[in-house]
């Protein structure tokens, strides 16, 4: 489930990256690459697990699936937080800088 949720997050962010004109300004490439990197790593993890468990790999307990789903959603949330922090630090539109400058006056 974690792999599936991360792959869907990667696909959605890639579609947004493709459609938006301000992709560079919004650091959308970073978000896409982050989710794709994690998806590829979990894919390897899943392949290794499949070679060990065989068909049993696809027959998870509902409780495990629920836990994996929570993990997947948490991973997506963490990815978005990391992206947001990068965006605010780089501050391409100077919004944070101007807000801080206004406060210090």
């Amino acid at each position: 489930m974690t792999l599936l949720i991360t792959v869907f997050a990667a696909i959605i962010t890639t579609i947004v990256w493709y459609k938006r004109d301000n992709r560079q300004e919004m650091q959308l490439g970073t978000l896409c690459l982050m989710f794709w990197g994690a998806s590829l790593m979990w894919l390897v993890d899943a392949i290794v697990e499949y070679t060990e468990l065989g068909a049993q790999f696809f027959m998870q307990d509902p409780a495990d699936m629920l836990n994996d789903s929570y993990l997947g959603l948490s991973v997506v949330a963490l990815g978005l937080v990391i992206w947001l922090v990068i965006l605010l630090i780089k501050d391409p539109r100077g919004v944070v800088r101007s807000a801080l400058a206004n406060k210090s006056r």
Binding site: T2, G37, A38, L40, M41, D45
Partner: protein
Amino acid sequence: MACFLVPASEAVVTTVIEKVVRSKENKNGDLTVKADADSLKVSLSEKLGWLNRMLWGGSALLAFEHVWHGEVVPTFPFLTAVTNGETSEMLQEMGTAGVGMAVLVTAIWGCMVAASSVISKRKVAASEETQKEV
């Protein structure tokens, strides 16, 4: 157990390489890119940036998964496998899954670099043809 440490280590190395390449490009003034409307050429440092973002991002999210499962803890030695005396299993996992992750991400990045080269070559060929026609 600790498979994310392998791509994270690769990320450290590729980040250093990117910094060195970028400073060389800045010195030589051949930082061609910043893919704009006219040019699709991408500098080597930019390409290395793609790999870095995939490796760092993936490793960070995987590290979170290990914390979630209690495999990474905030106290020394930080890895429960080491505390439980499962160091050899951990190293074996790093050698199989960890190396596999690093290799797959790097291979996909290689495909991205190859595709970008093909696209930029096509773009150059198309613009040369247009100039000939004029």
